[in-house]
C-alpha cells in the first residue's frame, strides 16, 4: 500500500471517527473543523505532484486486491486525474469551511453530514485515480450512494426523498449500464486496466462490441453528468444543503461523467459515432439547460439548469476534440486539441465561478430565508460583499471579460467554428448547427446570468416578503466564495499558469497519441484580436441585454409548452406505471400460501433441471459400471420404499413418526453396506435423537384432525411430485453414466502423511475442510438458539 492509496482511503478511515468527534466535541467545536484537515492534507499532497506531472511523468502504484481475478487496486495519477484530484480536494476544503458556518451545530445532525461528505470525497478520489475499471466502477457507485444520502440529508422533507430517489434511480441505472460496457471492454482486451487497454485500441476498434460498449459507457457518463434527457435529476437534487449542491452537484460529482468521457476518449475517440454522440448530446444539453434556466424562479433551480447547460458545453467540447484522434497529427489535429484544452479549462473555470455562485445563493438563503427570485430584490446595499461575488461569478458564467469564463467561452466558439468547417463525419451538412446552437445557448446563458444578479440584488427591497431581516453574512461564510471569486479574476489575467501546469498534462492524457508526437503546444491569451469569436460575444451581449430588458414581454412563451409533455412528467408517470405493473405482477403470483411458493420452487426445479438435461442432451442410461445387487440389498430397498409409503399414508402421527424412524435406521444399514461406518454410526444416533424429539414435540400436539387424517389426493401435487422424482432419478442416471473427471478422493488417501489421521472422513472434517465444519457448528449453534428463543421468548407474550 503506497502513500497514494492511503490518501485515497483516508477520507473513509477518518469518516469512522467523525461520529466520535461529534459526540465528544460538538457543543464546543464544530465537527467541520476536524473534517477540514483531510482535504487540506490531500490537496497539499497532490500539489506536490504538479512539477513531475507537468513534465510528463505519471505515478503508478498497485495494490493486490483479488489478484486471481486480475482485479487490483491500481492507483494511477496522470494529468487528467490530477486536475480532478485538485478540484475535489480544493473545492472540498472550501466547501467544508463554508459548511462550518452554514450548518448549525445545534440543530443539524453533523456527524451524518460529514460522514457522507467524506465518503463522497474518498469515492471521488477513487474514481479519478483508479486504473482498474472495476475498482473505478465500485467508487463510481459509491459516489452515487453518497450523493443519494446527501440529497436526502433532510429526509423529513418529502421533496428531499423524492429528489434523492430520482437521482439514485437515474445514476445507478447509468452506472449499471457503464458496468456492462466495462465488462465488454474487458472481454475485448482481456484486461481490466485502462492503460493496458490503450495499447490495444486497434483490437477494440475492430471488435463487433465496439459500438455497444461505447453506448453503454456513455450512458453511465451522461446520467452522471446530467446530460439530456437524464438531466432531470439535477434540479431535484437541489434539495440537498447548499454546500452539497456547490460541491457534488456543480463542482465535482457531476463532472465524473466528464472525467469518464475524457478518460475513454483515447479508446473510442476518432470514430464518428463517438463524435456525434458526445458533441451532439452535449450541444442539446447546453441549449436545453440554458433555455430552461431562464424560467426558473428558485435561485438554486436556476443554478441547477445552468449547471446542466455548462456540463453540456464541456461535453460537446470533448466530443469535438475527439476529432483530433481521427486526424492523428498535423494542423487539423492541432485545431481540435484546442477543444480538449477548452473543455478542461472551462471545467476548472466552471468549478470556480459556479462554486462561488452556489455559495452566494446559500448565503442569501441563509440570511433572508428564501431563494425565490420574486421575493428577493434590492440586496445590493445590504449585502455588498455577496453582491460583488455574485457579479464576478455571473459575469464569468455569461462569458464576459475580465473573468475566466470569457477565455474558455471564446475557445468554445473557436472550437465550434472549426467543427463547422469539418468535412468528415457528415459535418458538411449539419456542421453549421454547431455554432448556431452554441450562440443561441450563449444568449440564454447571458440572460439567466443577468437575472441571477440583478433580480436578486437590484430592484426594490421587499422586507415584508422575507422571513428574516436581511444582513451581510458572517466573514467565515464569505471566505470560501471570496477565494473562488478571486480565482475567477486571477485565472483571467494569468491563464498560462493553469495552462502549463494543469491543462497541458491533462490534455496529454486525453490525447496520448498526440502527446507522444510532442505537438501539444498551447498558449492561452485573453485577447485574440477582432475575430469572429469576439463578434459572436458582442452579439450575445447585445441581444441578450435587449432580451433581458424586455423579459416580461416574452417570458410567457414558456407557458405555451404543455406541462404534461415535460421529461419530469414522463419520469413520474413511468415510475407510477412501473410500480403499478410490478404490484399487479407480484399480486398475481404472491398468493400468501406456502404451498404455492413450494410448488413454484419445485416446478422451476423440474423445468430447469429437466430442460438442461434435454437441451444439453446429457441423459445417459449407461448401467455398465453398476455394482452387483444381492438379495439382501434388494429386500432392504423394498423395505425402505414400504417405510416411505407408510409415512405417506399413515393415519396417525405416531405411525408416521415411527415409520420415519424405521426409514432412518434402514438408511444407516445402507451406510454399513456401502462401507461408511462413520455415517452409519452418526445416522443411528441422530435418528434416535430425532425420533425422541418428534415424540416429545407431538406429545403436546393434537391428533391429526378427522378430515386431514388421510393425505388428500391433489392431481397437481401428484404431477409435481412424480415429476421431481423422475427428474432426480434421470439426473442420477446421467451423472452415473458420465464421468467427466477422476474423483479427487485419492488426495485425501494421503491423510496419514498430511494430517496424521487414519480415518479419512474425520480428517476431511476436522483438517482438510475444517472451515466447513466450523461453519456447520455455527449453524447448529444458531438453530439451538433459534429453538431456545422461540420457546422462551414466546412465553412472555403468551403470559400477557
Amino acid at each position: 500500500m503506497s502513500l497514494l492509496h492511503i490518501m485515497i482511503l483516508i477520507p473513509f478511515i477518518f469518516a469512522i471517527f467523525v461520529p466520535l468527534l461529534y459526540k465528544f466535541f460538538n457543543p464546543r467545536i464544530h465537527t467541520g473543523w476536524f473534517v477540514l484537515i483531510i482535504p487540506v492534507i490531500i490537496f497539499i499532497y497532490l500539489i506536490r505532484f504538479i512539477p513531475g506531472i507537468s513534465s510528463g511523468e505519471t505515478m503508478y502504484h498497485s495494490m493486490a486486491w483479488m489478484p486471481s481475478f486480475g482485479i487490483n487496486f491500481d492507483a494511477y495519477v496522470d494529468g487528467l486525474g490530477l486536475v480532478f484530484g485538485l478540484l475535489i480536494t480544493g473545492i472540498g476544503a472550501l466547501v467544508i469551511l463554508y459548511s462550518i458556518y452554514y450548518m448549525s451545530k445545534e440543530r443539524e445532525a453533523l456527524h451524518n453530514f460529514y460522514v457522507y461528505l467524506l465518503m463522497f470525497m474518498g469515492a471521488m478520489l477513487g474514481v479519478v485515480f483508479s486504473d482498474n475499471i472495476l475498482v473505478l466502477y465500485v467508487f463510481w457507485e459509491l459516489t452515487s450512494i453518497s450523493s443519494f444520502l446527501l440529497i436526502a440529508y433532510w429526509y423529513q422533507r418529502e421533496k428531499s426523498r423524492y429528489g434523492a430517489q430520482k437521482s439514485m434511480l437515474i445514476t445507478i441505472f447509468g452506472g449499471l449500464a457503464m458496468l456492462s460496457g466495462f465488462i465488454m471492454l474487458s472481454m475485448m482486451t482481456d484486461t481490466y486496466s485502462i492503460r493496458e487497454m490503450f495499447t490495444q485500441i486497434n483490437v477494440i476498434t475492430e471488435h463487433h462490441l465496439f459500438l455497444p460498449a461505447m453506448i453503454l459507457i456513455l450512458l453511465g457518463a451522461f446520467t452522471k453528468s446530467a446530460q439530456f434527457p437524464f438531466s432531470i435529476w439535477l434540479p431535484d437534487a437541489m434539495e440537498a444543503p447548499t454546500p452539497i449542491s456547490a460541491y457534488l452537484h456543480s463542482a465535482t460529482m457531476v463532472k465524473a461523467g466528464i472525467y469518464l468521457v475524457a478518460r475513454m476518449t483515447p479508446i473510442f475517440g476518432g470514430s464518428s459515432e463517438w463524435f456525434w454522440l458526445v458533441s451532439g448530446i452535449g450541444l442539446i444539453t447546453l441549449l436545453y439547460g440554458s433555455i430552461n434556466a431562464v424560467r426558473q424562479t428558485d435561485l438554486k433551480g436556476l443554478l441547477a439548469y445552468s449547471t446542466i447547460s455548462q456540463l453540456g458545453l464541456i461535453m460537446s467540447l470533448l466530443g469535438i476534440g475527439s476529432a483530433a484522434l481521427y486526424f492523428g497529427y498535423g494542423r487539423e489535429a492541432d485545431l481540435y486539441v484546442v477543444a480538449i484544452t477548452a473543455s478542461i479549462f472551462h471545467m476548472i473555470n466552471h468549478s470556480t465561478f459556479k462554486g462561488s455562485l452556489f455559495m452566494v445563493v446559500g448565503i442569501i438563503d441563509h440570511e433572508t430565508g428564501t431563494r425565490d427570485i420574486r421575493r428577493l430584490g434590492g440586496l445590493m446595499t445590504i449585502m455588498p460583499i455577496s453582491f460583488t461575488i455574485a457579479v464576478i461569478g455571473s459575469f464569468a458564467m455569461a462569458g464576459l471579460p475580465p473573468f475566466n469564463g470569457f477565455i474558455s467561452k471564446e475557445m468554445f466558439f473557436t472550437s465550434v467554428l472549426e467543427a463547422s468547417k469539418l468535412t468528415e463525419f457528415n459535418m458538411e451538412t449539419f456542421g453549421i448547427l454547431f455554432p448556431v446552437i452554441a450562440w443561441v445557448a450563449s444568449v440564454f446563458t447571458f440572460i439567466y446570468s443577468m437575472i441571477l444578479v440583478f433580480k436578486t440584488f437590484r430592484g426594490k427591497y421587499k422586507p415584508e416578503k422575507l422571513e428574516k431581516k436581511a444582513h451581510e453574512a458572517p466573514i467565515g461564510m464569505l471566505i470560501s466564495p471570496i477565494i473562488l471569486a478571486s480565482l475567477v479574476v486571477i485565472i483571467f489575467f494569468f491563464p498560462n499558469i493553469i495552462a502549463d501546469y494543469l491543462l497541458k498534462p491533462a490534455v496529454a492524457s486525453v490525447l496520448p497519441s498526440l502527446a507522444e508526437g510532442g505537438i501539444i503546444d498551447m498558449k492561452i491569451s485573453a485577447w485574440h484580436g477582432w475575430n469572429t469569436e469576439l463578434f459572436m460575444t458582442i452579439g450575445v451581449v447585445v441581444l441578450g441585454g435587449l432580451m433581458y430588458m424586455y423579459l416580461k414581454k416574452w417570458v410567457g412563451i414558456y407557458r405555451l409548452y404543455p406541462q404534461n409533455m415535460t421529461l419530469n412528467q414522463l419520469y413520474n408517470s413511468g415510475l407510477d406505471h412501473a410500480q403499478g405493473w410490478s404490484k399487479s405482477l407480484t399480486d398475481g403470483y404472491m398468493t400468501g400460501y406456502i404451498r404455492d411458493y413450494i410448488a413454484y420452487l419445485f416446478g422451476f426445479f423440474i423445468l430447469f433441471i429437466g430442460g438442461t438435461l434435454l437441451v444439453t442432451q446429457s441423459i445417459t442410461l449407461d448401467f455398465s459400471n453398476n455394482a452387483p445387487v444381492n438379495v439382501f440389498e434388494g429386500a432392504l430397498v423394498l423395505a425402505m420404499m414400504t417405510a416411505a409409503v407408510t409415512v405417506l399414508f399413515a393415519k396417525t402421527r405416531l405411525t408416521a413418526i415411527i415409520a420415519l424412524g424405521v426409514l432412518g435406521y434402514l438408511v444407516s444399514m445402507f451406510f454399513v453396506i456401502f462401507r461408511a461406518p462413520d455415517l452409519a454410526l452418526t445416522q443411528l444416533v441422530v435418528e434416535t435423537v430425532t425420533t425422541a424429539l418428534f415424540l416429545l414435540c407431538f406429545y403436546h400436539l393434537p391428533k391429526f384432525k378427522e378430515h386431514t387424517k388421510r393425505v388428500p389426493l391433489k392431481p397437481l401435487n401428484l404431477v409435481i411430485s412424480i415429476g421431481v422424482g423422475i427428474i432426480v432419478t434421470l439426473f442420477a442416471f446421467s451423472a452415473n453414466g458420465t464421468r467427466l473427471f477422476d474423483p479427487i478422493a485419492s488426495y485425501y488417501e494421503d491423510a496419514y502423511e498430511l494430517a496424521g489421521a487414519k480415518n479419512i472422513v474425520n480428517s476431511i472434517l476436522v483438517d482438510f475442510r475444517g472451515i466447513d465444519t466450523m461453519l456447520e457448528i455455527f449453524v447448529l449453534c444458531i438453530a439451538g438458539l433459534g429453538v431456545y428463543t422461540m420457546i422462551k421468548l414466546g412465553l412472555d407474550r403468551r403470559e400477557k
Binding site: 400460501y593 404451498r595 413450494i598 419445485f602 448401467f623 459400471n625 453398476n626 455394482a627 445387487v629 440389498e633 434388494g634 430397498v637 420404499m641 416411505a644 409415512v647 405417506l648 408416521a656 426409514l663 432412518g664 438408511v667 451406510f671 456401502f674 462401507r675 461408511a676 462413520d678 455415517l679 452418526t682 445416522q683 441422530v686 430425532t690 424429539l693 414435540c697 407431538f698 400436539l701 393425505v711 401435487n717 401428484l718 409435481i720 411430485s721 412424480i722 421431481v724 422424482g725 423422475i726 432426480v728 432419478t729 442420477a732 452415473n736 474423483p743 485425501y748 488417501e749 496419514y752 472434517l765 475442510r769 465444519t773 456447520e776 449453524v779 447448529l780 438453530a783 429453538v787 414466546g794
Partner: protein
C-alpha cells in the same frame, strides 16, 4: 446397484415432495426428512458404490471408497438434525399460538 439406488432416491423425492405440498405442518416436516434421506443416498451413490474398503487407512485394504461424499453426508446429517429440530419447534410454536397446524389457515392473523 446404482440404478436401483437412483430409483429409490427418485421414490423418496416424489413422496417427500408430495408431503411437502400438503397443508399440514407435520407432514411438511416428514417430507423434508424423507427428502434429506434421499439426498444423502444420492450423494453416496454418486461417489460410486462398493469400490473399495471403508475409508480407514488402518485397515490395509488396497482401495478405499470415496471419502469425500461421506464427509459431505456426515455434515449434512448433523445439519439436517438441527434444521429438523428448528422446524419442529416452529410448527409446535405456531400450533400453540395459532391453534392450527394447517398452513392455509395461518393467514390473516396479527403475526403475519
Amino acid at each position: 446397484m446404482e440404478t436401483l439406488m437412483s430409483i429409490l432416491v427418485g421414490v423418496f423425492f416424489a413422496i417427500g415432495t408430495y408431503l411437502i405440498l400438503t397443508k399440514s405442518l407435520l407432514r411438511i416436516i416428514l417430507g423434508t426428512s424423507i427428502i434429506s434421506h434421499g439426498v444423502h443416498l444420492l450423494i453416496l451413490t454418486m461417489g460410486g458404490l462398493k469400490t473399495g474398503g471403508p475409508p480407514l487407512l488402518g485397515l490395509d485394504s488396497l482401495s478405499f471408497t470415496d471419502a469425500l461424499p461421506q464427509a459431505l453426508i456426515l455434515t449434512a446429517i448433523v445439519i439436517n438434525f438441527a434444521t429438523t429440530a428448528l422446524f419442529l419447534v416452529l410448527s409446535y410454536r405456531s400450533y400453540k399460538l395459532l391453534g392450527t397446524d394447517d398452513t392455509s389457515q395461518m393467514r390473516g392473523n396479527e403475526d403475519e
